[in-house]
Symmetry: C2
């Protein structure tokens, strides 16, 4: 089982790490041709095994896709948490950093992002998938709570609503313009700029004290 993880070339009768190889194959193929653009047999071929082998690890293609989505949410949550860094040095700059990390994830991991949000994977198909998604959103929600706490106690908006608004805006930008993809529209500015401006306007609309940004 210690033999090479890097998927290419014959390894003997047993692959040794086929499940991981299938996930990587799915990511490669999704990045190439979209979530609908690969088959179970493609993934098997990419991993160098027979078309029947994947069935030992996943019930069907959708199960593989769901696993990819789950892993994506895990990495996504880690990336967001890392960028947020518990609100240091201050919530506003940390929040801005997290927004950029969101867009960066969508751009650098389009395959994960597609599997997570655009592949039509039913979130309830797997409790682990749902939990992973909830954990990722939890990072954003925690950050929104910290932001809302900066505001005077009266007139504070619900943190959940703020989190949903920011999530929707960020996902909207990532989904419409976030990737160089031929399926996306061109934009007269960087998605990051568009998002930063939107968040600044939105937070101003919430009455968040000015002067807390770091520029």
């Amino acid at each position: 089982m210690t033999w090479g993880k890097h998927g290419h070339g014959p390894r003997g009768y047993h692959h040794g790490n086929l499940k991981e190889a299938l996930v990587r194959a799915a990511l490669e193929l999704i990045a190439e041709k979209g979530p609908a653009g690969f088959t179970f047999a493609d993934a098997a071929r990419w991993a160098g095994v027979s078309p029947a082998a994947p069935y030992r690890h996943y019930r069907d293609r959708d199960a593989l896709l769901a696993d990819v989505a789950k892993r994506g949410f895990d990495e996504f949550a880690a990336a967001l948490a890392n960028a947020w860094n518990d609100g240091r040095p201050d919530p506003m700059s940390a929040f801005d950093r997290m927004g950029k990390a969101y867009l960066a994830f969508a751009r650098t991991e389009p395959a994960y992002y597609s599997a997570m949000f655009e592949a039509g994977v039913p979130v309830d198909s797997d409790p682990e998938l749902r939990d992973a998604g909830e954990r990722a959103f939890g990072i954003l929600r925690g950050a929104a709570e910290r932001l809302v706490a900066l505001m005077p106690a009266q007139g504070r908006p619900p943190a959940l609503m703020v989190a949903l608004h920011i999530w929707s805006m960020t996902h909207g930008i990532a989904s419409l313009f976030g990737r160089g993809d031929a399926a996306r529209r061109a934009l007269p500015m960087a998605p990051e700029e568009l998002l930063e401006a939107a968040v600044l306007v939105y937070l101003r609309g919430l009455g968040l004290p000015e002067g807390t940004t770091t520029g």
Copy 2:
């Protein structure tokens, strides 16, 4: 051979209106199982013709999907224009109505919406498709211009940016929560409420004069 499976009368050897029937078939099947969940052969079967017949009208499945997307943008633009109604009786209430129309379109025409935004159809594959998309966005952009014009001349934000922000937010909500779909997340409120709140906060952040809403 089994003519008229779906009550679309038997025509004899020639169907008579196969192209339209294929589009309707695609919409039915997308609504049922997602943009990836139908095949060219499925559409043919649904229309009651042989699997080879669709090739007379579309080069492949993607071409059919692109046509569905184009028609979707046309209907979408019409729905938005109708809701906007040239900004009557006042831009704010018309804008709010247009946002609701956007979400309503995503909910009542999920098949069109999927084909337009989530099926991975390359927008440049067909100039007509791109133009149809641009026309739809043009409605939103025109509305944003009217809204921006309500603001004092100094400090007016670029209307294009406002349009992109609103589009992103609305698409984000529609995409994440807009349909009862099992692939979407549940929400503690109606998407329309979430959107209306977001737009109000955003416009307040732009400094749009209060008291112009119709409540």
